[in-house]
Symmetry: C2
Subunit: 429 residues, 2 copies
């Protein structure tokens, strides 16, 4: 084994960074044996240097992250700051000064993955980011390497623990969205400003990364259709239960049936209770992958948290260090198929639509005619009447999002339709 | 991209081999893009050369596998023959003649993994075998690479599809073992001689491989405690249901609580219906991994079949070809911890014991005394009496296998105990 250590610079020392530093110390011998050389924490860039950080030599702490990545003797930079800047500039500078990079930064990867990969490649360095998607769950590596000889057609997953906790709570207790969110906040599962989670910005970034890797094509955050879960109601869960379903916030990346394009989207959806994703509870994540040869695979585990995310970061650190020792680089960016990303209108799926209608003869016939005129085939209809009001619950066969939108617009203009109470996609069948 | 192709020799062209050859042809462009060079099928060694093999140039077919691996121009040998010989000699010869090897051979890896890894290392070549455990499920790579910065404490899985199909059938229909086996045979899930599956030789080989990788220690097939599932009865399933459990054939690899040793075992066990492994249906496989930092992870998918196994083989083929082009090798054998493998007697778990006893006062006191004398603490007891006969169902707290065996031996010698109807371990709590 080489005795001269590989030097690691840590950018950020919050929940994840402090765990990375801790494990680098407590598991130093194991890491050395697995890498083939010891690894040494050579510097830690933080915003608040005065904060006491147990187990970290104060001499290593600096507020000048740029100087740290420019030192020239750093082998690997671990970026766990998050956000676009200064993370982006620091990573680029790290590559230019000879370091490889391990990042957990989903927002940055989703927005600027191509440029960062290009910078890594130009400097013959590695950019690894297993921790950016689904925390501790090995997912990027299986998609990029284990399934490299296969053709992936679909990636569908629960990739945000906060929203899964909220939806699971609504499902199991009948609570409304706000009540469940309050509990998530109290328990530390949701941040004070939960927007990134509940409006699905976080999940959309992960969907962009997963789609890019799965389909070897360029998918940016802007390409991902995004719909949050703040409007999911207790009534939606009641409807889902009647159908033998539950509701999950799903990130779905699909190759079109003809293979000529891909789509990526994040939205709440009903899935059957028999689907493996339906039983993913609390803040856990799980990702379901369908490929030509392997068939259906699922990866399950904690999607966030300091130690789980650190596990993914350190797995990457070992790989990047091994590559450094052997003079090789791992599988980098792969966007050779250059498939177009289709807009949401072209996505084909099933829908569950709940309508408030007048309780009089002929309404169902009118409604059914509108669906037929827009080419949306109805699977089942359930009518419930009470006090002159009635509700119609329609579940469709597969249809394009554009056709469904046209249908709903036409339904709204019918005199007999008082309102469209909810529209939800039905997945996993 | 390099235009000169990498040359692949395929040893075996059965269910898996023919799928490997097919995908190498149909996905040639994708494989080339992902590797950075085209791959060419340079030879196929078979036993019956006269058999027509669709899509394979008859010119490539040979019965002389040894000559094929000795050619010297072969970059990668894919071994999907199975069994110990001639596979072992062919793989060793392949390394000596400059080829890396991708194998799906669990029996060989479990028996001679150390020697094969040594041969690979001596020749600076790769030995990859994702397909040897749990078919298409990415498992070896996640354990070896994604979790390389973590400390794995437990691997528990359903790694044999045939027995899971049989047990699932018994669970869902109330069928007995023979009836369920007959159905598995009729549907092609069980072989004409099902011994390797039902007596858990296959699962034991996989447990040896998984334990070795998870604990960075040497675990051979002989180190694995093995108990088949031919004696699981419909009555056992009824008992399991009463406890809110089902029965699965589990491969369990554990690090001892003090960290100083490991164990590996395969046997039928009750697990709670709430455990993720309980809902693994039909011939699917799933493996549950517990580590210090990542926590609980699960990997799920098809554990066998031509195309799924080929997916795993081809993922390895891409990795090995990439390594070849960059002049590096992937993570090889890792047995640096050299932990001893403890015998079954030291395994600590819970037990479900069903006794036929005389229906008279004082029996429970006698039985409880025997448990106490052997240091086995009782969790729950259920008594059922009918017609002068009675049954006692005892569920214990955690105790060593040796203590439990001592207890059972002493129970058998009691006059009031007519027989020990069943003993089953309880896992996953």
């Amino acid at each position: 084994m080489r005795t001269r250590p590989l030097k690691v610079a840590l950018l950020g020392c919050g929940v994840v960074g402090s765990e990375v530093a801790r494990i680098m110390t407590t598991h130093a011998d194991d890491l050395a044996a697995r890498i083939g050389a010891p690894v040494e924490l050579a510097g830690v860039a933080v915003r608040r240097p005065s904060k006491v950080r147990e187990g970290i030599d104060p001499e290593l702490v600096t507020t000048d992250a740029t100087a740290l990545v420019k030192r020239g003797d750093i082998d690997v930079v671990v970026e766990v700051i998050g956000g676009i800047e200064p993370a982006r500039s620091l990573i680029t500078t790290a590559f230019e000064h000879g370091a490889s990079v391990v990042s957990a930064n989903k927002a940055l990867l989703a927005q600027d993955g191509a440029a960062l990969h290009a910078a890594a490649e130009a400097n013959n360095r590695d950019l690894y980011y297993e921790a950016a998607v689904a925390g501790a769950i090995p997912l990027i590596r299986p998609l990029r390497e284990s399934l490299a000889g296969d053709k992936i057609n679909r990636v569908m997953g629960i990739v945000n623990g906060t929203t899964n906790f909220i939806l699971d709570k609504m499902d199991s207790t009948g609570a409304g969205y706000q009540e469940a969110l309050d509990e998530a906040t109290a328990l530390g599962y949701a941040e004070a400003d939960p927007t990134a989670d509940v409006e699905a910005f976080d999940a959309a970034a992960k969907a962009a990364i997963l789609a890019g890797i799965a389909f070897h094509t360029r998918v940016r955050l802007d390409d991902v259709y995004r719909e949050g879960m703040t409007e999911v109601t207790a009534a939606d869960f009641a409807s889902a239960k009647e159908m033998g379903c539950t509701i999950k916030l799903l990130a779905i990346c699909e190759r079109a049936a003809d293979g000529g394009s891909v789509t990526a989207r994040v939205h709440p959806a009903m899935i059957p209770l028999s689907h493996p994703l339906a039983s993913v509870r609390g803040a856990y994540n799980a990702v379901f992958v369908e490929s030509d040869a392997a068939g259906q695979l699922m990866f399950y585990g904690p999607g966030a948290g300091g130690a789980p995310t650190a596990s993914a970061v350190l797995g990457d650190l070992v790989a990047v260090c091994r590559n450094k020792l052997s003079g090789a680089t791992g599988p980098g960016d792969s966007a050779y198929t250059q498939l177009p990303v289709s807009p949401m209108g072209e996505v084909v799926t099933r829908y569950h639509i709940s309508l408030d209608v007048a309780d009089k003869p002929g309404v169902l016939a009118q409604v059914a005619t509108v669906f037929a005129e827009h080419g949306v085939s109805i699977d089942t209809v359930r009518q419930q009447g009470k006090d002159g009001e009635a509700s119609l619950v329609v579940v469709t066969h597969r249809a394009s999002d554009a056709s469904l939108n046209g249908t709903v617009e036409a339904l709204r203009s019918l005199d007999t339709v008082r309102g469209v109470a909810s529209i939800m996609r039905v997945e996993g069948e």
